[in-house]
Symmetry: C2
Subunit: 418 residues, 2 copies
């Protein structure tokens, strides 16, 4: 079968499966998730055997150590995939819930009911656990899912997909509700992105290159997350101890992730007092600082920041530092160089906190806490399928609810329009 | 200036204006809306003079009578534009509102705050009143708007835009927050659809051809509404008098609009009893019926429906009629031929009503009332900018809230990730 007919057939079957999933009770969906978890644990050795094929092929192809590391399925990976599924089974099912219900003057009762989106396409790289994590969330929200992982992980993804399908079948749910695209060709992505009659949403997960490719080529709506250039602004009314803790945590706790701080903005009035001890903490943790001109006056030994540093997402122990005139300049800097991901202020001033919240245009705006809290789990969404930095449909971490939409339900007793 | 540089400049200015609009108080926005209304009334004769230029050009170009009718700005059009703006000023401002607020175990307080989307591009045909209606809604929701109306309405749209800009300026709001694209070239649309760095959302309003063109060519997310192939299913447990009233209203009240019924589905058990009087009412109102084979047995004088009738959006006094075995067949028919717009059931059976609500995949699902209620005003959204039949971001009538999104607001007292 050609690549095109393979993909078209999969998408058509996914659409049919989605219609069945949409009618499925929460109990059945949870049962399926728990069965998938069980099956993955039971098949641990087969999964690792398939993964070993990917790993040896990857080594032959000269994948970097970091790539090989991400590709590896260990016992702990198996355990965390299974636990993840059991946690998703515990989460509230958004489908069928109604928010506010209101009554019209003519007696019509109107509400909005949460319903699944339909078919979700996930396009991702390397990590095979995404296959299971993403499928779990999509299925729980009543959707069907088409998974196109990295070609280097194909053996691993296929055996994980077969665990999922078997568990679905065993539960009496449509086995085609979760499918892995069984093709290495990049052309498969292109064709997948054109199935707008069958697929309702595309979520790319991976590097900026992959995401831009998907956005450029998709005829289907895309929820995307380019990068996290996150800022902390240390106000002149900040508790400087708190600011030091927050900034240290935001940079050092896990520098390689999107919600790590990349630029620290400091009010000029507290710059001297704050920056000297802060720089010491950072340097003792191996953080390389790159400062603006004013910062250099206070910390003459650090590197000078260039224009490229302000929009940089280092994902590393590197931090750009800028001294600002006031909060307005901090907010303008965020608007100019940020990525609408996460921005935090440290301040004890009530009205500045209020204004920062209103005026900063980011998916998560934080007062007096670390940027590291921009995470579905940390914010109480349960689990997340990604973080959207564009505004339509979802802005910020996306949990189960963001994998659904709403329809209007109108109850009458014979009302007509006059 | 080239078409491209004109559009790029407008989009860049719109983006800057959107940032100012986002910070704007509800009071200021309402003041601007009321000033726009006033200015349109004050300038009625100039508006009609500009409109006359469009009309005479349109007649020279041989526009149909229906097109000329839609293009004409009458005193009543002026009045309804001004009243529409005053009504939008009365509506609650969604911006800044927070839904549920929750607390995390570590004490972080999390909420979602409504914020404007940014810059909205509206691409529409003929009716100049859309310029004012759409601008009013976009501005009230704190957005900037770029309006690209039909080339045949350019003079009318430009004078309306200048009324809007002058009123914005007079209120101290950015005058570039509402701009009409001053170009007749179709190429302008193509370029507009590529300004994904500045424009956040495109809403096309018009015929299916325009909408498909926009969807095919846009790099910006599109909220679209292709067509309304709406169904009423008359169940065997229906109150047949109520069913007759509802079906008559759904078809005859305003046959040329998207929420009019296009196909009536009738349970076989009540077909005979229901169809004979129903057909009489329809025929006395000039409705042409096209029936399935079973319908023909009951109403031998009517035309036979062909396969093309089931997915047809007549927008006219024509109705397809089909007798079905049961509700399941009705729901399958809707799924196969419908457009996810509006479907209604007439029934007195509680569990069938419940199942219909759950299983029918339409933006508005109605029990015992006319399909004509799928309308932002009728459902209590205040006013609508359109009806979305795709699921992402909004599904169904879109009011002010659908012109906004949410960001997360997190309040802490120094929390860091452990």
């Amino acid at each position: 079968m050609s690549i095109e007919s393979t993909i078209v057939k999969m998408a058509t079957e996914a659409k049919a499966a989605a219609k069945k999933m949409a009618k499925c009770s929460t109990e059945k969906k949870n049962e399926a998730l728990i069965k998938i978890a069980h099956r993955i644990e039971q098949n641990a050795s087969e999964i690792k055997k398939e993964n070993a094929k990917d790993l040896s092929r990857g080594k032959e192809m000269g994948l970097s150590d970091a790539m090989i590391e991400r590709l590896t399925v260990k016992d702990s990976t198996i355990k965390s995939m299974a636990e993840g599924l059991r946690e998703v089974a515990q989460l509230d099912d958004p489908v069928g819930s109604m928010g506010r219900t209101w009554q019209r003057p003519n007696g019509l009762q109107v509400s909005k009911m949460r319903i699944p989106l339909g078919v979700i396409g996930i396009i991702y790289e390397s990590r095979p656990n995404v296959t299971v994590d993403a499928a779990g969330l999509c299925l729980k929200a009543g959707n069907a899912v088409m998974l196109r992982g990295g070609s280097e992980a194909l053996h691993s993804n296929q055996i994980l997909a077969s665990c999922i399908s078997q568990a679905l079948q065993e539960t009496g749910l449509p086995e085609r509700a979760a499918q892995v695209v069984p093709l290495r060709d990049r052309e498969a992505i292109n064709i997948l992105l054109k199935q707008e009659e069958s697929i309702d949403l595309i979520i790319p997960r991976g590097g900026e290159g992959l995401i831009r490719f998907v956005v450029e080529n998709s005829k289907i709506p895309v929820l995307k997350h380019y990068k996290g250039v996150c800022h902390v602004y240390v106000d002149d009314d900040a508790d400087l101890n708190m600011a030091e803790n927050i900034c240290f945590n935001a940079k050092v706790h896990r520098p390689g992730v999107c919600n790590a701080m990349e630029t620290m903005l400091v009010h000029k009035k507290v710059a001297k007092k704050f920056l000297s001890p802060m720089a010491k903490s950072f340097e003792s943790a191996g953080v390389q600082l790159r400062g603006c001109q004013e910062t250099s006056k206070i910390l003459p030994h650090i590197a000078k920041a260039s224009e490229e540093d302000w929009p940089a997402e280092y994902l590393d122990l590197i931090l750009a530092v800028k001294v600002v005139e006031d909060m307005d300049q901090a907010i303008s800097h965020m608007a100019m160089y940020g990525s609408c991901h996460t921005e935090a202020i440290v301040t004890s001033d009530y009205s500045k906190a209020r204004r920062f919240i209103r005026e900063v245009d980011s998916s998560v705006v934080i007062v007096n806490a670390s940027t590291r809290f921009n995470d579905g789990g940390q914010l109480g969404l349960g689990a997340e399928i990604g973080i959207s930095t564009s505004k339509l449909h979802a802005f910020g971490p996306m949990g189960l609810e963001e994998l659904t939409t709403t329809k209007f339900v109108v109850l009458g007793e014979g009302q007509i329009r006059e």
